[in-house]
């Protein structure tokens, strides 16, 4: 039943196909500017607007056709791969990373699990006061800093002298509410409204666009991982790890998080597709990237002006599809490898060790 055995891994032609395709995309993306393309990207050929693919014997044919602005689809595809490497993939990776760590921490520590030293409170307040330049910012910040310092000294000193009432007071960080609140706030604004509103401002640079994409994409991952973490947290092997006295962060990082991230193997490629889809939807609505930036999603978006131009779907659509399938396949293999062999062995050994230690105690 379990097909994710190492045997399939070794002989999976699908896997090698996937790797080859990804290598091709990366290669084309990196080498794009040096490839001998018949037409440069982002240059309209006004005599050939929205023409179907042709292999005519003229010196420079549009092998993949042109889009409604007369741009060569082949050139756009090649430079679209570059855009994928510099924007969509990093955005997905960052959003997944951010979402997994935020969601994982929120699910693991909950609202009361993570306690910060009390001195952090006035320190943060001082920083906020300073940054916002609130009235009497200099004096207020200094006073807050001094308070923070006094608390620190007091707690540190009395913690050494012995337990006192005030010495043990900490500041519990409501991590769960914080992460959920921010994620809810972000996703409460419909994605499109958020981006439309942002697009109304000055044009975005690539890094700003990256930040926007990460901002809209991470809450989903965070919620997914948090939900899984709620479940993983109470699994016997995590409880055993707790009992064995492993440090908190190690339990979180080594034991709980890998398990909680299990659904990500399936969802990360989908969220990449989601981001590219968002891009093309924006192009459909007439907002988004510069027309000089080639992108598969943008190319798909031009379909609206020319709904019968099948070559605008086939090129970027299949490139997108193959990339997604390849990512999915690689993810499946990696997660299979992870969960079936190494990961379970590791967990098992850790848990056995923990059991042993509790027994010894």
């Amino acid at each position: 039943m379990n097909a994710r055995g190492p045997t399939r891994f070794a002989s999976g032609s699908a896997y090698w196909g996937a790797v080859a395709w990804l290598a091709l995309v990366v290669g084309v993306g990196v080498l794009g500017p040096w490839l001998p393309l018949p037409y440069p990207p982002a240059t309209p050929d006004l005599a050939h607007i929205a023409i179907p693919p042709g292999w005519g014997n003229s010196a420079a044919a549009h092998y993949f056709g042109t889009d409604p602005a007369g741009r060569d689809v082949l050139a756009e595809l090649v430079f679209g791969a570059r855009e994928l490497l510099t924007l969509s993939l990093p955005a997905t990776a960052l959003a997944t990373l951010l979402g997994a760590s935020a969601g994982g921490a929120a699910g693991f520590w909950g609202n009361r699990g993570l306690a910060l030293p009390l001195a952090i409170g006035p320190l943060a307040l001082a920083a906020g006061w300073w940054l916002l330049a609130l009235p009497y910012w200099l004096i207020s910040s200094i006073i807050l800093l001094i308070i923070s310092f006094l608390i620190f000294i007091y707690q540190w000193k009395f913690a050494r002298l012995g337990p006192r009432r005030f010495a043990g007071v900490t500041l519990p960080l409501p991590l769960d509410s914080l992460v959920l609140g921010v994620a809810t706030l972000l996703s409460a604004v419909p994605r499109l409204v958020l981006v439309v509103a942002l697009a109304a401002g000055p044009p975005l640079s690539t890094s700003q666009l990256l930040a926007v994409l990460v901002l809209v994409a991470w809450p989903d991952t965070a919620r997914l991982v948090r939900a899984q973490m709620l479940r993983v947290r109470v699994q016997p092997f995590v409880e055993a790890a707790w009992a064995s006295g492993l440090p908190e962060w190690r339990i979180w990082w080594r034991h709980a998080l890998p398990h909680a991230c299990q659904p990500l193997w399936a969802s990360a490629p989908l969220s990449l597709a989601g981001l590219i889809g968002l891009e093309s939807t924006l192009a459909f609505l007439g907002i988004g990237l510069l027309p000089t930036t080639a992108s598969w999603g943008h190319l798909l978006g031009t379909l609206r002006q020319e709904p019968t131009a099948w070559w605008l779907v086939v090129g970027p659509g299949s490139a997108l599809l193959f990339t997604l399938l390849a990512l999915q396949e690689v993810a499946r293999q990696l997660s299979g490898l992870h969960s079936s062999k190494e990961y379970f062995n590791k967990t098992a050994s850790d848990v056995t060790a923990a059991h042993l230690r509790t027994k010894i105690k």
Binding site: A133, R223, R231, P263, I276, G277, S280
Partner: protein, 330 residues
Amino acid sequence: MHLLPTPLEELTLGESSDLSHVGSPRRLADRQAAQRALYHRLGLEEPVFYVSRSAHAPIRWYWHGTHNQYHRWVQQLLRGNLGYSYRTGQPVLALLQSALLYTLPLMAIAIGLATSLAIWLALGFALAPAEGGGWQALGRTLLMSLQAVPLFALALALLLLFANPDLLNILPADGMGTAYPPLGGLAWLAAYGAHLVLPLLSLVLAVLPGLVLPLENALRHELATPYSSTARAKGLTAWQVAYQHALPNALLPLFTTFTGLLPALVAGAVVVEVLFALPGTGRLLAEAAAAHDYPVVLAGVLLTAGARLLALLVADVLYYRADPRLRPSS
């Protein structure tokens, strides 16, 4: 024809360099006077919030008291008044109500259909051997391809396929009927149904991959666990094991994905509404955002935020019901 209308000021005052009106030349002072009158009528003359900060150094904070736009907006909100649209002057509540009248039934049917179809498909896929071909492998590839196609391309393709006199001319292109005088009873229902087929089909096909693929992944994971093997060893059929034992566990991490669809109930789907000319909330909000019609945007955001909170609550309740170990008390 543009989807997004030109902004508020242009709509009311006319574009300054528009020569299509015969008319006296307007000068800067005229326009400024008109602009002031417009801002006065819409209540935009007051400061936005209780406090404001000077944009340039030296930085100062100013206190405006209760005479600010936000204060008035909240005051009205507490009385159940969401304000008036800048663009049309209609009460926002009325606008939202009429838009929800189209969006709610459409999205509810779409989400219901998609969810049940997703569970059924995921079970089917998960029970098939991963190596083997058959309809499952084909279905999975199809779903993956669907995932790569953006919603608008999908809807456009359906439109060009089923509402095209040159191909299959069997379904209406418009998302709702336009009969006048209005039809009554069954005739209306039949017309309504026929008009909804294409929007529904596009929506269901668009969300299906996002539901089926993770669910299948989770199901496979659950089916590989010892308790499933035990269940099989007890002599249950593969379907019974999957449906009764693996599915509840596999659904658990995906509750958020499923309940995440709920806000779409009220937020609508812009692309589908644009293509099929449905005057739903998605279009209302996107057009309002583009035209800077803030009362409408704010109300829409409030509405979706409410729906989102409700969805989270539902997800949490479902979790605790499905897995008592997760209850906060334990």
